[in-house]
Point group: C2
Chain length 194, copies 2
């Protein structure tokens, strides 16, 4: 999902550059990226965020070695945002933040993302979501398998998971300092169970 | 690597949009992308090209739902271009074309790509290059392990692999119609050997 301020019609907006890793108010994406860097530097896992896909329409060459893109548009990603390898396992996930007080709306997850996670799961990879519930500031790793049940239920019934359901089905992720979000520990727990 | 026409200083260049899959003159990247789509549609493997990383400096909103990027720059990718899962294995590779008549210059491969492939290999993934030798129009899958030997040799000696060395160390990839480049078959051979 591309996030940009709504309603700023006709305005030109400068995206923020990297903010400090220590910043408490940082987005889930930044926290996960910082954790991935931590894992990479310690050779614990190789997990990267995929770049945002951009359709490039026009490129200008003001000087010989510099290419300036002057017209481009955001594209919808066809997969999830993160993938890589941990303990020989193919890892694939997306991150979701929810401000909802009592439930996690499933419309947060796009159909093509669910399809992709399903496919990864069937091919033997570890497919999941990392979810931040803002209400109580907790983080959860929801395996695809559990998610699939509620996605199916949503066809005829409730279009969300209650927080109780989400917490029951997920592995908790502890927040810390280094890394900020030690989700590999949650994966370890998951691997022990299966 | 971002490819753009050299010398067109001060000119604005419109990148080509998708050309036909049947096009004989298509680049290795397009051939591999078409093969990946073939594999995906038949649920044989989930392998995607990562989007080209772009640093977005300025975005304009001409209307409520449209974001037009008006200033952006190509960034150097920190990993290889392709990854995914096949038969439960984490797959990671880059593609290289060589016009050289007798050898494959190792300067074609960036240091950070070699580091990344090494890391993937050590974590139990399948790390390799797909190489197109234009001289005799042949395609090769070169496993990281073999590449590593020649990268090491290049520190004090020869900075390239001869075509003979490359072919001896690689698995041949057959060109066909569907998919255009059946590199999963080469991976199967590789898995049988190891």
């Amino acid at each position: 999902m591309i996030k940009y301020p709504n309603g700023k019609v006709g305005k030109t907006y400068k995206p923020k550059t990297n903010t400090s890793v220590k910043n408490r108010g940082m987005t889930l994406e930044k926290i996960v990226n910082a954790s991935n860097l931590y894992y990479l530097e310690r050779d614990m896992a190789i997990i990267h965020k995929k770049p945002t896909p951009v359709q490039i329409v026009s490129v200008h060459y003001p000087s010989r070695n510099k290419a300036k893109i002057t017209e481009a548009y955001y594209q919808t990603p066809s997969t999830t945002d993160y993938n890589g390898i941990y303990k020989g396992h193919y890892i694939d996930f997306d991150v979701k933040e929810s401000r909802n007080k009592t439930s996690f709306p499933l419309k947060n997850i796009h159909a093509h993302q669910i399809e992709h996670l399903k496919s990864v799961h069937e091919h033997g990879g570890l497919a999941f979501l990392i979810i931040h519930l803002k209400t109580d500031d907790t983080y959860w790793l929801l395996p695809y398998n559990a998610l699939a049940y509620y996605v199916k239920r949503a066809i005829k019934g409730r279009k969300s998971m209650t927080h109780e359901e989400l917490k029951k089905e997920s592995l908790p992720i502890r927040e810390g300092l280094r890394p900020r979000l030690d989700y590999l520990k949650a994966i370890d727990l998951w691997l022990e169970k299966t």
